[in-house]
């Protein structure tokens, strides 16, 4: 068997078309590694800058609270001088599967003037022209590129022997071509999988030292291997049918296009049509109407400029706080509707995605990498919840007319959120079942093969 595998390996390595495909794969992997490293670096730098701003804001605020000479008319404004920078934990494998990492915000600044709808207003400066084209990451190579390379190496697995008439000879001499087919699949699969595994090791060696990164990388590699094994099984099954190499190639390419391009596109259209998110414009208009309705009297947004008097400044920030609460109350139903619709959309998208192994693998890879939609939404929800607690904390001082003291800073709510990191067990199980089923089906067909 080993000699047969070595022979097949030599045959593949002598085929210029196969070498061309492997070169494309190698080039894509190199680009994916570089691009993944750049994304990871940018994520780290963004968080470091946010951390620095948070430290500066904390130091400045502590100095302010500790200042014994701060006059009461200035000290009463302290809740409105308070800033907190919220930072999402670094995704463990953003350099493997970028997912939503280039799109979703991972830091934001909250203050007493921040509202839910303006919480992430200043994120999203990335060039949309690049975002719409997407980038290359290892996840893309595994889900989109590698299956097609594998198809290129496997499409004539046995069908080519049928075309040339050698198949009859093989069946006559060996009885069943199972060992031959297995010996042909293994080196071809290895030629696709090993460079991917190598790229994983390179990323691990070059990437940041994060707890559980290695563990996540192994899960990621397991999903990638299962998905490619599924395609190998698919190639074997198609070759076990009574068809020629051209039809096998056509069928495999059509199947790949269906599962990787067509079904995801169709699902996306169905999901958007079934659960269109409520209008963001409507949300904006509602917030503005609520703000105007809450400020029948003039609200001064510059209390420090308008007056130097303690009482009038306190009255001013009390009015600001009152307006903010009314706006929050007025927009809460719309926000809740929005969140519910998005959650329903995500549930429906996940349910539909089970019909496409490409989407199952993509989701599993992104979930493992910490760059999936659920993680991004988790950070948004946690930030909104923290904003509520933060404003309630500052608003308490405003309502009581109390001056914030140094000791009060310790009671300030701290943002501590980390995403739930569960291995994508359901997706892995589905891939195992599908792969095993297809492999058994094709091996059975090959074992019973009888050529007329």
């Amino acid at each position: 068997m080993l000699r047969l595998i070595a022979l097949e390996l030599r045959i593949v390595l002598r085929d210029r078309a196969a070498l061309g495909l492997l070169a494309v794969l190698a080039g894509a992997l190199a680009l994916a590694c570089l691009s993944g490293a750049a994304l990871m670096q940018s994520q780290i730098e963004g968080r470091t800058a946010a951390q620095t701003r948070q430290s500066e804001a904390t130091t400045q605020f502590r100095e302010r609270l500790a200042d014994p000479e701060l006059p009461p008319e200035e000290a009463i404004l302290s809740p409105y001088r308070l800033r907190q920078v919220l930072i999402a934990p670094l995704p463990v494998l953003a350099d493997f599967s970028a997912g939503r990492a280039p799109i979703d915000p991972y830091t934001t600044t909250v203050s007493m003037r921040t509202s839910r709808d303006t919480l992430f207003q200043r994120s999203g400066l990335e060039n949309p022209e690049l975002l719409v084209r997407g980038g290359i990451d290892l996840g893309f190579v595994v889900v989109v590129l590698a299956p097609l390379v594998l198809i290129g190496l496997l499409y004539g697995l046995f069908a080519a022997d049928r075309d040339s008439g050698v198949a009859r000879l093989i069946v006559a001499q060996a009885g069943s071509p199972v060992r031959l087919v297995a010996a042909r699949i293994m080196p071809r699969l290895a030629l696709v999988l090993l460079p991917i595994a190598g790229a994983v090791l390179v990323q691990l060696a070059a990437g940041p030292d994060i707890t559980s990164r290695w563990q996540a990388a192994w899960v990621w590699l397991l999903v990638a291997s299962l998905f490619l094994l599924l395609w190998a099984a698919c190639g074997a099954w198609i070759n076990s049918l009574d068809i020629g190499a051209e039809t096998a190639a056509f069928t495999l390419v059509a199947l790949w296009a269906l599962l990787t391009l067509v079904l995801p596109a169709a699902f996306s259209a169905i999901v958007q049509a079934s659960y269109p998110p409520p209008s963001r414009f409507e949300q904006i208009a509602a917030a503005r109407a609520a703000e105007v309705a809450s400020t029948e009297a003039y609200e001064n947004d510059h209390p420090e400029v308008a007056s130097n008097e303690y009482e009038s400044r306190l009255a001013s920030i009390r009015q600001t706080w009152d307006v903010a609460q009314k706006v929050e109350a007025a927009t809460a139903p719309i926000d809740r509707r929005f969140a519910a619709q998005l959650a329903a959309q995500q549930r429906f998208a996940v349910a539909l995605s089970w019909a496409s192994p490409a989407l199952v693998a993509k989701r599993a890879l992104e979930q493992t990498a910490g760059t999936d939609a659920a993680t991004g939404q988790g950070f948004r929800r946690a930030s909104e919840a923290h904003l509520g607690a933060f404003r309630a904390f500052g608003g308490g001082f405003v309502e009581r007319g109390a001056i914030m003291q140094n000791a009060d800073a310790a009671q300030m709510p701290r943002f501590a959120w980390s995403p739930a990191r569960a291995a994508p067990r359901a997706e892995i199980t589905a891939l195992i079942i599908l792969t095993a089923g297809l492999l058994m089906l094709s091996l059975r067909r090959f074992a019973r093969l009888q050529l007329a």
Binding site: L130, I136, A254, Y298, A306
Partner: protein, 469 residues
């Protein structure tokens, strides 16, 4: 019937009988129509939503009652970007770009409400639209159609027969190009014409833009057809031709545009959002604010200008003048920082353009998005116009405060007359001339690709005469 016409008729008949090709063609057509329908619904909903929001916002703005003009400037207005009817054909960057800008005092805000933020599904390969069907699926379909055009004749032995019956290799290549081209034209034409009709139904369209858009896709598909026939001419078997074409498709359609993104990000890295806003804040903090450390000098300058010795004696609102000066200084910062950011975007676009040397797709994408009004230059034009409107609104409100708020400053209240005078934002998209001026390189690249593809296909005739005769 000439031999050429007979070959074309035979090829078309064979393709019509090939159930695999028919099923795939019907699938692509169905997807194209679905994409059109979803885009049409999305754009109609966006426009209806935008009109309703503008009306509601106008009513809120005009009904805000007595208020200090600066308080109103903070409340201010929103600019909403319209989606053109041509976006039905190619939504371009619409999903990834914000379509609403808050035009408030003191701050230049980025465009928000990106549809992608509310979209849980990100496709493995591009957004679903008619343009995506024509850019991604149609080339694959053309590859499938063309793969066997010559290679299958070779496998069957009919190629030798054709050549022996007096058909010259170059005439055969022309016939094959014509038959693949005719089928491609019918398939692409049906989708495109339905698309054009849908765009016309979605709103007013510029016929010249539409015609150029169709022409660009015709050139692109002609390139694909010529390359596919050339591969089929040189392949040993139709299976091999199909795999080579699938590999080329993977490289040119799927890989190159994405690789170009990686190269563009490397060539011109954009600042992180964190870094950008920190820089803006630092630059704003660096100038002498007329409300803080620059107040004394500014006050002296204003008093000298009005010939008074005390601020209380000014015939205008000093607070209003402070606000306007603060805006002027802030705008200098915004001009510098956003100018630099847009400069990075432009350098990234240039890097992307280089990818057109490896694949005609990036050039086509730029042309398609530009003619649909959904590319980055249109987005930047929207943001720039919104910023100009913001400055005009804030200055209008500050001017009212300056002229009528003497002695009252932040206690002065303006009324509905002023709010009614504030004009609504109206986006004026770049003209067709301006759009085309930015596309001449892409057009040249696409035509260059077409010329090379046709030459390669015709030169393959020599290969045919050498190997078969």
């Amino acid at each position: 019937m000439s031999i050429l016409a007979a070959i074309i008729a035979k090829d078309v008949r064979e393709l019509r009988r090939d159930r695999r090709v028919v099923v795939m063609a019907l699938l692509v057509l169905a997807l194209g129509l679905t994409a059109l329908a979803t885009s049409w619904v999305r754009i109609s909903a966006h426009e209806a939503d935008r009109a309703a929001t503008i009306a509601a916002d106008r009513a809120t703005w005009e009904g805000q009652g007595a208020r200090n003009p600066h308080s109103a400037a903070h409340f201010s207005k929103w600019a909403f970007k319209p989606l053109t009817a041509e976006a039905v054909l190619d939504p371009g960057i619409a999903a990834y770009a914000g379509s609403a800008v808050w035009m408030e005092a003191h701050n230049r805000n980025p465009a928000v409400a990106r549809p992608i933020d509310d979209q849980t599904v990100i496709l493995p390969s591009g957004d679903f639209s008619l343009a995506w069907v024509l850019q991604v699926l149609m080339p694959l379909l053309v590859a499938v159609i063309a793969a066997g055009s010559v290679a299958r004749e070779r496998e069957r032995g009919t190629l030798r027969l054709m050549l022996a019956s007096g058909v010259s290799p170059s005439a055969l290549v022309r016939a094959k190009l014509a038959s693949v081209g005719a089928v491609t034209l019918v398939l692409g034409g049906v989708i495109s014409v339905v698309g054009a009709a849908a765009a016309a139904g979605a709103g007013p369209v510029d016929p010249a833009r539409l015609a150029l858009w169709l022409l660009a896709y015709a050139v692109f598909l002609a390139i694909i057809a010529a390359v596919a026939v050339a591969v089929s001419l040189r392949a040993r078997s139709s299976g091999q031709a199909l795999m080579v074409l699938a590999g080329l498709w993977l490289f040119a359609i799927i890989l190159t545009p994405r690789a170009a993104v990686s190269v563009a990000e490397y060539a011109a890295p954009a600042p992180t959002s964190e870094q950008f806003w920190a820089d803006v804040a630092a630059a704003k903090a660096a100038y002498p604010s007329p409300f803080a450390d620059g107040m004394e000098a500014f006050g002296a300058k204003v008093m000298a200008q009005y010939g008074v010795t005390r601020l209380e004696d000014l015939p205008v609102s000093f607070g209003g003048l402070q606000l306007e000066e603060d805006e002027r200084l802030g705008n200098l910062v915004f001009d510098a920082k956003f100018g630099a950011l847009f400069g990075v975007y432009e350098r990234q676009r240039q890097a992307l353009r280089w990818a057109s040397l490896a694949s005609p797709l990036p050039a086509l994408q730029n042309i398609s998005m530009a003619l649909s009004g959904t590319d980055m230059p249109h987005q930047i034009a929207f943001q720039q116009q919104a910023e100009r409107r913001r400055r005009a609104v804030v200055t209008q409100l500050n001017t009212d405060l300056i002229q009528n708020g003497a002695g009252e400053d932040f206690d002065y209240l303006a009324g509905p007359k002023l709010w009614a005078e504030v004009e609504e934002f109206a986006f004026a998209p770049p003209s067709l001339g301006a759009t085309l001026a930015g596309l001449w390189r892409e057009a040249l690249i696409l035509l260059g690709w077409l010329a090379v593809a046709v030459i390669v296909a015709l030169r393959s005739a020599r290969h045919l005469s050498g190997s078969e005769q």
